[in-house]
């Protein structure tokens, strides 16, 4: 599997010269399976550039949305493959009571908020709630589970052969739990992350910022590390950088995370901070 980061920022895009090294686009990660199958995790503003520089040119694309907060869907209508009638695009998203996924997305992707209506898209697009059971995409097995965030949100695990990626971009597993002591079966998302080759996890806040944001649905760096350790992830990537954090601040959070990882007896090189354009092959 090849993993490429197209948008790593949380909350809102930040076109700021002090944030260019990590990038200002919101959540979007591309996964290319060994057979060339393309999967896209979230449709934040990063999906626009992905769409114009697609690594593969198959007509079938799988888009897996974790949830429908704006920073995870705002790039969808700027994804060029949606405007090619030859394309088949499957969009998965969180299950919810009430309207179907396409109707919920249409609240944003329709007038007066959008000049193009979701139903006008030329591509053949199918929308579905992420199943509660595993499903197959190309040669990979995909699993979704509802995780702790504000609003219904799923995390994903994509497994191909012995490799696996767990994607939990917006996640607050420490809410109501002591991550260090809790029975692992009672920690949100840990089943998805257990033993993952690559864990992409929310690390939005510095520890000192978190107390003012408890319940907002995001993690401190220490909680991201604690979660990764409990899950015994092979590699932790901090993701969903706060829009107020410039490159130096993200550097510092990455250093703190690596130090905490090392204090737990792990190799600090197993922790990194997500940056736009970074590619990981697992």
């Amino acid at each position: 599997m090849r993993v490429r980061f197209w948008g790593v920022r949380g909350s809102v895009p930040v076109p700021n010269p002090n944030m260019l090294r990590y990038g200002g686009n919101t959540s979007c990660v591309e996964i290319t399976l060994s057979d060339g199958t393309e999967m896209i995790l979230d449709a934040g503003s990063g999906i626009r550039e992905l769409g114009t520089a697609r690594a593969t040119h198959t007509n079938s694309v799988e888009v897996l949305l974790t949830h429908l907060h704006l920073d995870h869907i705002q790039g969808l209508l700027f994804f060029p493959p949606l405007f090619d009638p030859a394309n088949h695009i499957h969009v998965y998203g969180p299950p919810a009571t009430g309207p179907d996924l396409d109707q919920r997305l249409a609240r944003y992707l329709s007038a007066p908020l959008s000049p193009v209506d979701l139903r006008e898209l030329p591509a053949q697009v199918e929308f579905a709630a992420s199943p509660y059971q595993d499903w197959e995409v190309g040669g990979a097995r995909v699993r979704a589970a509802v995780v702790a965030h504000r609003g219904v949100t799923v995390g994903y695990r994509i497994s191909e052969g012995d490799s696996s990626v767990c994607y939990l971009p917006d996640h607050e597993p420490a809410l109501g739990s002591e991550l260090g002591d809790a029975d692992p079966g009672w920690i949100s998302g840990i089943g998805l992350a257990a033993g993952a080759s690559l864990l992409i996890h929310d690390g939005q806040y510095a520890d000192e910022e978190y107390p003012d944001h408890v319940g907002w649905g995001h993690s401190s760096v220490s909680d991201a590390v604690a979660f990764g350790l409990r899950a015994d992830a092979e590699h932790l990537v901090l993701f969903h950088h706060d829009p107020t954090h410039d490159d130096r601040a993200v550097d510092e959070l990455g250093e703190r995370a690596a130090e905490a990882w090392e204090r737990a007896g792990r190799d600090p090189s197993e922790v990194s901070t997500a940056a736009e354009g970074a590619v990981v092959t697992i």
């Binding site: 589970a145 497994s159 109501g176 009672w186 033993g195 015994d232």
Partner: protein, 148 residues
């Protein structure tokens, strides 16, 4: 429904409870009202410290229990201590029919023996899926706790 096995890549395997049950456990952990979490197979998954106080045992001592074990130890019973059918419990209604249910019967509560309790069961419903029930109970003759 038993939790599905998830992780596998590096020999780690964790059975991860659904978020709804995790959040319900977090909620009842901080609730002063005795409360249980039950899975769709009627297995006792967790009870809080308020329940432990009236049961006389903490969850950490008891652990998860299948229905036949908690029904044998706790109830339900009639006023003479004869077992009642568990399919008449509010819990059974919540699990079977997917709506809240209430009831009153006797249970065996630690050293205080047979006590009449009010019970409410709330199904833990997700869209197109359900994960068990949250059950709260209150001894009928118990005093209402003072509020500040």
């Amino acid at each position: 429904m038993a939790p599905a096995p998830y992780g596998h890549t590096s020999g780690v395997s964790v059975d991860h409870q659904p978020l709804l049950l995790i959040q319900a456990r977090n909620l009842i952990t901080n609730l002063a009202l005795p409360a249980f979490l039950i899975d769709p197979d009627a297995r006792l998954l967790f009870f809080n410290d308020a329940a432990a106080e009236v049961l006389g045992r903490r969850f950490e001592e008891v652990g998860p229990l299948p229905q036949d074990e908690w029904a044998r130890d706790i109830g339900p019973f009639d006023e003479d201590g004869r077992p009642l059918a568990t399919n008449s419990l509010p819990l059974a209604t919540a699990l079977r029919e997917g709506h809240p249910a209430q009831g009153r019967f006797h249970v065996r509560l630690g050293e205080s023996g047979l006590r009449e309790v009010e019970v409410s069961a709330l199904p833990m419903l997700e869209p197109d899926n359900y994960e068990g029930a949250l059950v709260v109970f209150w001894p009928v003759e118990a005093a209402v706790p003072e509020t500040t």
